[in-house]
Symmetry: C2
Subunit: 366 residues, 2 copies
Amino acid sequence: MLITTSKENLITAINAVQKAINPKSIIPMYSCIKLEAKENTVTFTGASLDIGIECKIPVQVEREGSTLIPAKYFSDIVRKLPDVPITLDLSDSLEMTIRYEKSYFTLKTMEVEDFPPLPTFKGGLDFQISSEILKKLVRQTSFAASADELKAVFTGLLWEVNGEELGLVGTDTHRLAWGKGPVLIEDKEAKGSFIIPAKIALEISRLIQDGSCHIQAEKNTVFFTFENIKINCRVLEGNFPNYRQVIPQQYVTTIQAESKKLRDAAERISLFALSNDSSNTINLKVSEGALTIHSRSDIGFGQEEMEVEHSGEDLNIAFNARYITDVFKVIDGDKVIIQLSGQLSAGIMQDPEEKDFLYLVLPVRV
Amino acid sequence: MLITTSKENLITAINAVQKAINPKSIIPMYSCIKLEAKENTVTFTGASLDIGIECKIPVQVEREGSTLIPAKYFSDIVRKLPDVPITLDLSDSLEMTIRYEKSYFTLKTMEVEDFPPLPTFKGGLDFQISSEILKKLVRQTSFAASADELKAVFTGLLWEVNGEELGLVGTDTHRLAWGKGPVLIEDKEAKGSFIIPAKIALEISRLIQDGSCHIQAEKNTVFFTFENIKINCRVLEGNFPNYRQVIPQQYVTTIQAESKKLRDAAERISLFALSNDSSNTINLKVSEGALTIHSRSDIGFGQEEMEVEHSGEDLNIAFNARYITDVFKVIDGDKVIIQLSGQLSAGIMQDPEEKDFLYLVLPVRV
């Protein structure tokens, strides 16, 4: 293998495949990048048990070849190089030399034959989505997924295709975020769903620049293809509970508040809530057009009061403060609507300008 | 105590005194801010065993009084408040209420009588320095101090007054940074020195805005006074070695290199050095107008070559890579001069445009 290319090209490809690589993997080849130079293309591949990423860069190949090099060191060196032409030279199968001007770096390589081929799509759900909508749906739902690896399926996002619509759902069982958007699909009657880790969905949404993304899903694997990148991702096994059952059908109390005021007030009151224990409970009282939030703890007492638009009954209810403030990561509008159906029933939060998004949060018993 | 003031005023004073406070101090009063409202001024005070900071803000005092409140909670709440008038109301000695608009927060307080008075200056070195020069000297030397608390005196900076000149020295015994600048002093024959923790010197240099700083030093305490802030700092006991002895009197090899090129090359080569062990050794070879830097380790080999201006003998020498790259935090010029006096003698690095700064680094035996 002998190629010369720009630092920018190398960085683009390294950045893409590194998302799949765990430099501390106990399986050595999973800490490596596979490089394959063939017919005016270098293919970079990174993989772990759950995900594989392939990125192709166009380049004049002076000598074909392939190798496995430690991702971390290769990446660290290339990132620190000046912006000049860089040569990758695999003179023998034991080491690769990175050269620029009068300087060079020789990295020990691994046996490329050990690296398993990435899977290919054999049939199933097959659709296109605009990268903008994909990014939006992942952002709207991933924050609500569980970060606790023991909660297995709830670390994932549910993707539900229903004809020309894709819905995403993230939940940690205490709160749930749902968003939907249009897709391009040949079979307008297609129905199907899969769950992939929220973390991986986020990485993919960060890699996509613009244009559209081609998604193909079979039983165990989902494929994402865009620009010069191909990703395969293992699906999470298990099922989401029927979240539609949890969404209340009617509400007794509806308020509309200013997003920033509500978020800031909840954050201030949570200072008192947090100092007590990890439950981080804040109490909301809706009465006659005013919303009062309070919490008491060892350090003292805090109470915020703000005017809101209010219809329906007066109500006292308690929530985990973080669940209330979290949703403002994805509600960008000035206003937020909160709908409540009783002290022990789920509350709904929505941006009045965005009907294709819904956030559901369970109250805390106090 | 009853006062109303702006969020900005409160934040300014909290930011200043918090630098002295350890919120996890096992001595409860040292995790608190003392507030004293008296004669149109509120004085904020924060202290620990090593440092005390006092900051005064002008304010209309409606009711005088003083109290001790937990710094962390007070600071967290005030930071999250909107930018509106804020009232601090000490209704009884057990709790203080922070109020704005219709919202309020009540924090439990501590006995203010327990808080010791800050020390006052009784005589000794007494001079003024421009804040710009103070900031520069601290920046030029603090990075070279030791971060290892076991090295006691070497976590400090030596301040040496010699008439109208102040020199600062930071060293961890492997490398040393020295800078000097002018001061305003009445006694032009005054000589004296003190050592204070580099961390505290850095905090002080960050607090100073502009104008000048009044410094007064007595045996155990140094006082810094500027704007509305007064700081007292306990001096570190112990002595610096005679660093002047270590500075070579003549050099056999002098090179001048481009700062950025040398720093980047040393950083790249240190990737190889670091993977081996913690010694992080890189080898420098000066020969016929070229500087070659190399290192070998388990992962491979790296070599950088660059042209330099070179006079004197050819030389091979090895350094800890970090000691070489560190100095570029404070050498802002395009060029750096390196003077060497042999494989086992200290090397000197300087900005050719800045004669009042010198960096000395000991080589590694290889």
